[in-house]
Symmetry: C2
Amino acid sequence: MKLVEQIKQPILEEMELFESKFRESMATKVPLLNRITHYIIRRKGKQMRPMFVFLVAKMVSNGKFEERTYRGASIIELIHTATLVHDDVVDDSNRRRGFFSINALWKNKIAVLVGDFLLSKGLLLSIDNNDFDILKLISVAVREMSEGELLQIEKARKLDITEDIYFEIIRQKTATLIAACCGIGAASVGSPVEEVEKMRLFGELIGIAFQIKDDLFDYTDAKIGKPTGIDIKEQKMTLPLIYALNNCSDKDKKWLINSVKNHNKNKQRVKEVIAFVKEKGGIEYTTIRMKEYQSKALEILEIYPSSPYKDSLLNMVNYVIERKI
Amino acid sequence: MKLVEQIKQPILEEMELFESKFRESMATKVPLLNRITHYIIRRKGKQMRPMFVFLVAKMVSNGKFEERTYRGASIIELIHTATLVHDDVVDDSNRRRGFFSINALWKNKIAVLVGDFLLSKGLLLSIDNNDFDILKLISVAVREMSEGELLQIEKARKLDITEDIYFEIIRQKTATLIAACCGIGAASVGSPVEEVEKMRLFGELIGIAFQIKDDLFDYTDAKIGKPTGIDIKEQKMTLPLIYALNNCSDKDKKWLINSVKNHNKNKQRVKEVIAFVKEKGGIEYTTIRMKEYQSKALEILEIYPSSPYKDSLLNMVNYVIERKI
């Protein structure tokens, strides 16, 4: 059994019921819109976000489950789907999960409107049920994601980016939505605010570790058999490179900056940059930092008694660090 | 004094204070984002939406005013601005109110992210202050606007569109946001739900009349000295044409459908269609329907005692019908 399937085992029933509830949450009397939402349901992904919501809810409450938990997962998924539909418009992508994108099939105008519709349905689902705590968690995430992306556009190509800014970008851009999932899971079963905050932090730590792992793929050869070097080509400054820059001689620094700035399309030079970052300990340092986040996440789970839900969350944390893709 | 300036007189102070509060509501620590929001503030429009919020709030409460009223106006304006920024991406527009659009200056990706940021700031402004009644009014409007636009894309080019569908489209697409402004104005000063609903309906009636007037410009010569015929060229079925189609002989109907379907780029034929619609009483009928909505809107105001705020709202209703542009 694949690890993702194994993680899903203790919440199989809930995941199945979730699907029909999620479908209901998109209902509309506009026929065109109905055709599009049906298409969206058919191309669903791994559904990591609802899994986080359900596993956290069940772990903190010893298997308790509320209608609110389903709504929390639906809201997250509605807003996440809205974001994906808009992203494909922005990036002019034709494909998503092996299917054509909404903009490829129905054009940009319709895709943007579908995104807005899904977003408003998510908001109304929580407002109509007085789920204001859930709504707040998700709204903070929406704000942080847009801020994080914009901070990245502004800073990540500047060669003097600091570690602090790097961590701020990945916290906002990637970690905040996983944090919201875990916070919403706890809030949905009536956890006190301190526990909701603790679970939010748990999600944030995993999210940061997840993004560091992603950035490491650029310099290591796990993903597609060799280092990709894509970030270097795009002049995106990530932790391995930032570390190397801060820990080499002035002469080497000059060479490194010149390489990324002016020779980032030169395959040979990109290879040399990757080798240099490795030699300076950039991979090692980055891996240590990633594992720090992993440990902190695992620490938060320590106080909970053993349960299938906790086991799945532990597996999830380890999967994030050890995945090959 | 121009009519719009005259309408603004009784709320001049509030409108001024609103501007600084609206500016505050967009605050962020991301420098790029700050530059963009400053640019957005500089190119502000007539601000009809905050005017509706403030005038309704003051009329129903005899001049009372709450901090919540400012927040209501800011939320409406944040979400309306987000929509405009996204619209310009979708329509690939370079201009907005005589300024360059956000996508023209900063590219599509940044424009979509700025829209998402403004939207989340609007949500958080209401959530942080427990303005859940306001949030609900605005979320319903966001859903209806996207549904209305999609319904129009699906139906308005079909030649068998009914009057009912025409009214449903303009109610959702145009009237729902003005309805939300008026409902929020009342809700912000603590009106009972029945009054909030009445003010929402008042805004909806004006909004519908406003859109009918807009559609009339296609067939009358008020706007730019001659009928525009743009809707006919785009095969958009509006009330004057729908009425003519339903009130002519089968032979004429065939000719009309053929003209709109196959000869809509032919200037001479478009002129003939306009003349035919006039002759069949399409303009007259449409004007009558528009005035029905106007009367119903004015009727709602009857129970309120005379006040400068009520006078301004009466002026607003008449401006909608009598405007030349």
